[in-house]
Amino acid sequence: MQNISMRRLLAGAALTILPFGAMAADLEVTHWWTSGGEAAAVQELARIFEEQTEHSWVDGAIAGSGSTARPIMVSRIIGGDPMGATQFNHGLQAQELVEAGLMQDLTEVAEANGWRDSINPVSLLDACTFEGRVYCAPLNIHSPQWMWTSLAAFEKAGIEPATNWEELKAAAPALREAGILPLAQGMQGWQTALLLYAMISGIGGADFYNQVFAERNEDALNSDTLKNIFAEYAIARDLASGGNLSDWNMATNRIIEGTAAAQVMGDWAQGEFALAGKTAGTDYGCHIGLGGEPVIATGGDAIYFPVNDDEAVTEAQRALAQVILSEEAQVAFNAAKGSLPVRGDIDLAEVNECTQAGLETLKAGNTIPTIDLVMSSDSRGQIEDLTAEFFGSSLSAEDAHARFVQIVQSEM
């Protein structure tokens, strides 16, 4: 008894004597960044975190994709064995966890570091905010609406590189002739869905995208525009046939090798290009919004910090939140991953033309919310199932459209 109180006393004394936050902690960070470029980016973030604080980064990578990793993360948080920090696509995914009081309140950190002023677009911070309190630290901006082209592939086929969707369609026969896959498309649900979102925003435009997903406007859902997009989507299925691809970076690898002409994928594909030593403009081309309307989705990754009862870990969590929004981390992480920084006040010294294009679009305010911000995981999962089914079968564009409308409308 006496021992315990003595120890407490000593501990209290230590707390007051030592500078604030001197208790070093191991912070376990779970994420699903396991591809080459992603791992390099995490490496940067971990390095800066360990350099700038006395805490250690314990890497908890879970391979696969978000759909593999999220269940594990959620079950651990719910199971009362929370990690120190975890990646989530910010938006509705973690909202219930926040509501249940399972996430650390970061408002103080956010206010002390002026997040509201520096984060651009500010909607990213809003996505982290629930009832006026901040619960996550946005890390990067991801725009899935990119079409990446292999210049070598087009050269091999003896035609001009396509710069938009229409040109790609036109080039397809020539590409096939040359034994080149026109569209490299991984068959996993999230990838096929990503293509659909990109086509809706690229062909339909930002307003149309918002009408469909954010407002769930009945006219938009039943419009010819959407029906037409589904028809185009069926053409994409033809362009991708024979690819036999599953992982996104396997598909990106086909672009790097020049055996496929184009891939619609998020800006993280740039990480793979960079790792393979390819240069934008000379080796590969990038086209926001499939070369149509240049809009960029302002979603991306955010780091959440589950509530835990270890003071040292809580301290480390705050420190990491601070590091994430630091200039150094923003530059290093996003350069490696190929994504855009969430701070508008950063000058990216040497960015390639693709990143530049992204930044300009961002500055111009041509932004749309990512799907995670406007749809529940449930609906998103259903859309992924639908698109995966579509790509793996001969489901007609009309039927796919009808079912898509049904899913969107049933979203609460």
Partner: protein, 316 residues
């Protein structure tokens, strides 16, 4: 009594001395066996075809794991390596990356060891006592509980994953190795209990009675009479549990933290952490490494393994 003393016996001898001359036409003596009848050829042919189906994947795994990536891209997955390299094995064991952790499968291996040992011991201890109580100390409702237990073996794990998360949270074991051990004890219980129940009920009940007359109690009979004579079934249970727990993926991925991921989860991570081109040779080496422990146990235990699964499955 010597033969010569009796004329009758001598007569018998003279009969036996002249058999050759008495043979009639037709088959005599040992029937010839055709070593390779058509039937035999079919039997062995069938077995060889199936053996090829079973062995080819193993062959392909080993061959691929010993090749370099360029050779894999060129060649034939069935062909033996032109140039043997152990690089993929080294990489799979100690270098392959998942995220920032580039220590390959080695960590998963030791995690698996740390999970398998306590889980095997505990689950077998519990199940053996269960089987013993079910056979020798029946109480009201014991058969009902046993029936539920056996039903439990067939309930899809998915039905119970989530509530178990909550149970583990409530008892504070979520994420710890002991939580996973507990899960293995629970899910190993039906089949291992069945195994022991069948074994103990095959022992003569008199043995148990004799021990009671000799004054041994519940634990005395179990530990000093039954356990010492149950070594074969314990071996079988150990084999079943070690391979079963080693091969688990679902529980390992849900109920542990990344730093204590078992080897199968690590394998899945490595195989799915594609960084650039898929390194099939490393994947295959990793696969073989993961399968090595159960395979070794399987090949070493030979008949015991077979007897065990037959005993566990056929009766009951």
């Amino acid at each position: 009594m010597s033969d010569a003393a009796y004329p009758a016996a001598a007569g018998a001898r003279s009969r036996s001395a002249a058999p050759r001359g008495r043979l009639l036409d037709g088959p005599a003596g040992l029937a010839p066996t055709r070593r390779l009848s058509g039937k035999r050829i079919m039997i062995y042919g069938g077995l060889l075809i199936f053996s090829a189906y079973y062995l080819l994947p193993l062959w392909v795994m080993v061959m691929t794991s010993l090749k370099g990536m360029p050779e894999i891209r060129m060649g034939n997955i069935f062909a033996p390596p032109v140039e043997i390299t152990f690089e993929p094995w080294v990489k799979a064991w100690s270098e392959a990356c998942t995220g920032l952790n580039c220590d390959g499968l080695s960590r998963g291996f030791w995690n698996s060891v740390a999970i398998v040992i306590p889980a095997t011991i505990l689950s077998i201890a519990v199940a053996a006592v269960n089987g013993y109580a079910l056979v020798n100390w029946r109480f009201k409702g014991s058969e009902v509980f046993f029936t539920i237990l056996i039903f439990g073996a067939f309930i899809p794990y998915q039905v119970m994953i989530y509530p178990i998360v909550i149970i583990l949270r409530e008892i504070g074991l979520m994420g710890s190795v002991w939580g996973l051990v507990l899960v293995h004890v629970v899910f190993g219980m039906p089949i291992i209990t069945l195994l022991f129940r069948n074994y103990f009920s095959s022992l003569p009940p008199e043995l148990f009675k004799a021990a009671r007359v000799d004054g041994a109690g519940f634990w005395g009979i179990f530990l000093r009479v039954l356990v010492p004579m149950s070594l074969p079934i314990f071996t079988v249970a150990v084999i079943l549990q070690v391979t079963g727990i080693w091969n688990d993926f679902l529980f390992g991925v849900i109920y542990t933290r990344p730093e204590s991921y078992p080897m199968t989860v690590q394998l899945n991570n490595i195989v799915n952490s594609v960084q650039g081109v898929r390194e099939y040779n490393v994947n295959m080496a990793a696969t073989l490494l993961t399968g090595l422990v159960p395979l070794t146990i399987y090949f070493l235990s030979g008949k015991l393994f077979v007897r065990g699964i037959a005993a566990g499955a056929v009766k009951g």
